[in-house]
């Protein structure tokens, strides 16, 4: 118990530190006291206020929410599918979201304002197709079917994306931003549109914590305890799809978090109990993405680098160290 509490405390500290750094640091040097003043509504020039209120604050919030969402999506799927390699990519969301975004960028650039919604819609569509196929025929909703259907959907949408990029190579550079994955400082607009999907996804995940624990003891024990295993898997799929599609709509295609953060939490905390893993993964993922994004924005300021490599640089050594100890 002590170990788990220590890990939780450490991650909370990391979260607070990452949040503070994300607000305090950026391409433009602002004294910390100034930032605090502005956050509390006092002073600062117009440009400074713009930087803190419209650029850094929403971006920090986005980093925290997306980091938590992707980690929770991964944890929920790993529990539901009973497979340590499960992540939001497996249910087709990333492929679909990528396709939706590229579709807008390449075929309908005038409707660029709809990009987040297109990514969201196609992400959810892909997940829905995966579940429809996985629930048909025999062995409805079994892990194997979900994973295979997910791979098929991913291939399908990736092929579509590649085809579009090949047909319009001139327009590819705009698409690369989305595919590489990363946050943008665009004020509160995107969050204001997309937050309901996050909210529903998080609430679903919350209610899935105990059922997923039951599922860990096997379908029979779960049924004995009053749960319906197929419904739990379906609910988990819906929660993960919502969280991952909403994340893709805001932050492009970010891998790594969904797969690795839950494992880091399990290994560090020494438990697979979802009552611990799911909430703590949210905290860890939020801290990691906020920290990675801050580094991506500040290391070579004023150049903004993609956030993916920074998360990997921060997360992989920790993951490997824990792996050595655990296995």
């Amino acid at each position: 118990m002590l170990r788990r509490s220590l890990v939780l405390a450490a991650l909370l500290v990391a979260l607070v530190a990452a949040t503070v750094c994300s607000l305090a640091f950026g391409a433009v040097k602002l004294p910390f006291s100034e930032v605090v003043d502005i956050l509390f509504g006092n002073g600062g020039s117009e440009a400074q206020r713009q930087i803190v209120e419209t650029l850094r604050l929403p971006r920090t919030v986005e980093a925290l929410v997306v980091g938590a969402a992707l980690s929770v999506a991964g944890a929920v799927l790993q529990g539901a599918l009973g497979n340590p390699l499960a992540s939001p990519d497996v249910i087709g969301v990333t492929g679909g979201a990528g396709f939706g975004a590229i579709l807008i960028i390449i075929l309908l650039p005038g409707s660029i304002a709809l990009l987040p919604l297109a990514a969201l819609a196609f992400g959810l569509l892909a997940a829905a197709l995966v579940f429809v196929f996985a629930w048909s025929g025999r062995n409805r909703g079994s892990t194997g079917k979900v994973i295979l259907a997910g791979i098929a959907m991913l291939s399908l949408f990736t092929a579509g994306t590649t085809g579009l990029l090949a047909a319009f190579p001139e327009r590819a550079p705009s698409a690369i931003f989305f595919i590489a994955g990363g946050l943008t400082s665009s004020g509160w607009e995107e969050i204001e549109t997309i937050w309901p999907y996050f909210a529903v996804g998080f609430v679903f995940a919350l209610f899935l914590i105990r059922p997923l624990d039951r599922l860990a003891l096997g379908d029979d024990v779960a049924a004995s305890l009053g749960s319906r295993p197929q419904l739990i898997r379906l609910g988990a799929g819906i929660a993960a799809a919502l969280l991952a599609a909403a994340s893709a709509a805001i932050a492009g295609l970010l891998g790594f978090l969904g797969l690795v953060v839950p494992h880091v939490v399990r290994m560090a905390g020494g438990t697979s109990s979802n009552t611990y893993v799911i909430p703590v993964s949210a905290i860890g993922g939020a801290a990691l993405l906020a920290a990675g994004d801050t580094l991506a924005r500040t290391l070579r300021a004023p150049i903004e680098m993609p956030v993916g490599p920074f998360m990997v640089v921060l997360g992989v050594p920790l993951f490997l160290w824990l792996l050595r100890k655990a296995v």
């Binding site: 024990v221 004995s224 009053g226």
Partner: protein, 297 residues
């Protein structure tokens, strides 16, 4: 309807009387114990094949019922069907008079605890955590564990004899220890009826004795148990009543010693065998290499 005395009286258990069909009617001198589970004519079809073609089952409060039968007879399917884990295609199943179809998952969880033969062993879960999961079915969706719940978890672990390794990970347990933990998870549900599907089939002799003793003690302490058993001698030793299922039907039910007669063993299992009990040990004497006069099924 003359009562017939049970042969196992030397074990000191309360004498039981029998009505028609050899069904026990409760200790002498007391009204018959209520039926927790009644099933008639249960039919189950899996993948187009009829597995159960009309099986019957009756479990009264306070007894340990063993279901025995040849492989493929449908024993597991029967207990899964009456437990609500497998949808029956026909027949009538009632829990304390309430039809199975009317019972929701949580309500059923309070009536019966199902212990599968072998549950998957998840990494990173301790014994205490697993038993707590068993307890969680009693909780409202987001409510926290109360002190009473924690006590319930401790009690379940103690009753099952796994309290001493509560902090160990499931992956470090032996087969027998794991089976006991599974029973503890079932006990945490605080349901009056524990259903176990072949709890000892994969255990060695010592572990089997341990689990058998555990089940018997639990039932003596007031629990009701329905157990699918492979080992006929074990069934005879441990159960108050045996139900024989063959080819998807219930073919006999009664006191193990009576109903598992040599004729029955020959007819249903095609074996030249005899159950004996002596000095507290039950044994099945089998002509392993076959003999004349007994037809193979």
């Amino acid at each position: 309807m003359a009562p017939q005395a049970e042969e196992g009286g030397s074990r000191g258990r309360p004498q039981r009387t029998h009505g028609p069909m050899g069904v026990a009617e409760g200790p002498l001198g007391t009204p018959s114990a209520p039926a927790l589970l009644e099933a008639h004519g249960v039919e189950v079809e899996i993948g187009g094949t009829a597995i159960l073609r009309g099986a019957d089952l009756l479990v009264r409060s306070g007894e340990l019922v063993a279901i025995v039968g040849p492989n493929g007879a449908g024993k597991s399917t029967l207990v899964r069907a009456v437990s609500g884990l497998q949808r029956p295609s026909g027949g009538d199943v009632r829990w304390s008079g309430c039809p199975l179809g009317d019972l929701r998952g949580r309500e059923l969880a309070r009536l019966r605890a199902f212990v599968p033969q072998r549950m998957p062993v998840p990494a990173g879960i301790s014994v205490r955590e697993a038993v707590t999961i068993g307890r969680s079915s009693q909780l409202r969706p987001l409510s926290r564990l109360t002190g009473a719940d924690r006590d319930g978890v401790d009690a379940a672990m103690d009753r099952a004899g796994v309290g001493r390794f509560a902090a160990r990970a499931l992956t470090t347990l032996s087969g027998g220890e794991l089976q006991r933990v599974q029973v503890a998870i079932g006990l945490a549900q605080e349901a009056p009826l524990l259903i176990a599907d072949e709890p000892t089939s994969q255990l060695d002799l010592g572990a089997t004795i341990g689990v058998a003793t555990l089940l018997r003690e639990l039932v003596d302490g007031g629990l009701t148990a329905l157990v699918v058993v492979h080992d006929l001698a074990l069934a005879a030793a441990v159960a108050d009543r045996a139900v024989i299922v063959a080819e998807g039907r219930t073919v006999a039910t009664g006191i193990p010693a009576e109903v598992l007669s040599a004729e029955r063993l020959a007819q249903t299992w095609g074996a030249d065998a005899r159950l004996t009990e002596h000095d507290g040990r039950t044994a099945l004497h089998v002509a392993w290499l076959g003999s004349k006069g007994v037809r193979a099924p």
